[in-house]
Symmetry: C2
Subunit: 107 residues, 2 copies
Amino acid sequence: MLSIDKTLGALADPTRREIIAQLNVGEQRVSDIAEPHQMSLNAVSKHIKVLEDAGLLIRRREGRTHYLSFRPDGLEPAAEWIERTRAMWARRLDALEAALVADESEK
Amino acid sequence: MLSIDKTLGALADPTRREIIAQLNVGEQRVSDIAEPHQMSLNAVSKHIKVLEDAGLLIRRREGRTHYLSFRPDGLEPAAEWIERTRAMWARRLDALEAALVADESEK
DNA sequence: ATTTTATTCAACCATATAGTTGAATAAAGA
DNA sequence: TCTTTATTCAACTATATGGTTGAATAAAAT
């Protein structure tokens, strides 16, 4: 469903953000992704599943090995919410400043 | 410490994002924030504390009542990470396209 | 001085999360 | 065929999260 809850929840973990960073060099196998981490392969496999479920990763199976890659579109729900919220506040602050300027010229 | 873990974790909950949206009209008391939610005042008070701890809200005390307001700067760690990741991929995709175009002109 | 109002603190509960280990599955290599 | 390799599944543990209720605190109103 690509929900914003899932997206932000998935990103709120340093191991998972690190996994995304690792995939900048291109698709990788589960074991490759796991290798640099100080935790079991199984733990990493679970993190991968969370990211996949959030729409941030896609999996390509080739025989027994699974290749994961980052799916940039998965960031959209989170990016959109943050940008919308920022924009709303930029407008609020602009309005505030405009009001101050108007007040100044009324003197 | 304004960590990105805390920021994203705080945003990954619909009630908390709703609280931020509510504060668009300006600062509000804890009870005002709680009023439209289908949960106890205490639950909302906890959510407020999570947002505050993540640097997304600031609290101004006036006697017994606490006024909360949104702190747009609190979004920066999350926004920055997302934008940086997006940018990295935009470059990757651009490079890919450039390679394809170069390949095409070699025919 | 007493009561009401605004809010937090504390204890508790249910469920989710992040990790573990060990077994299961299934493809590849000997 | 037998063994190794790549990965998931299942069961379990510890801690975190999101909610509850009831008591504590402290300021405001009567």
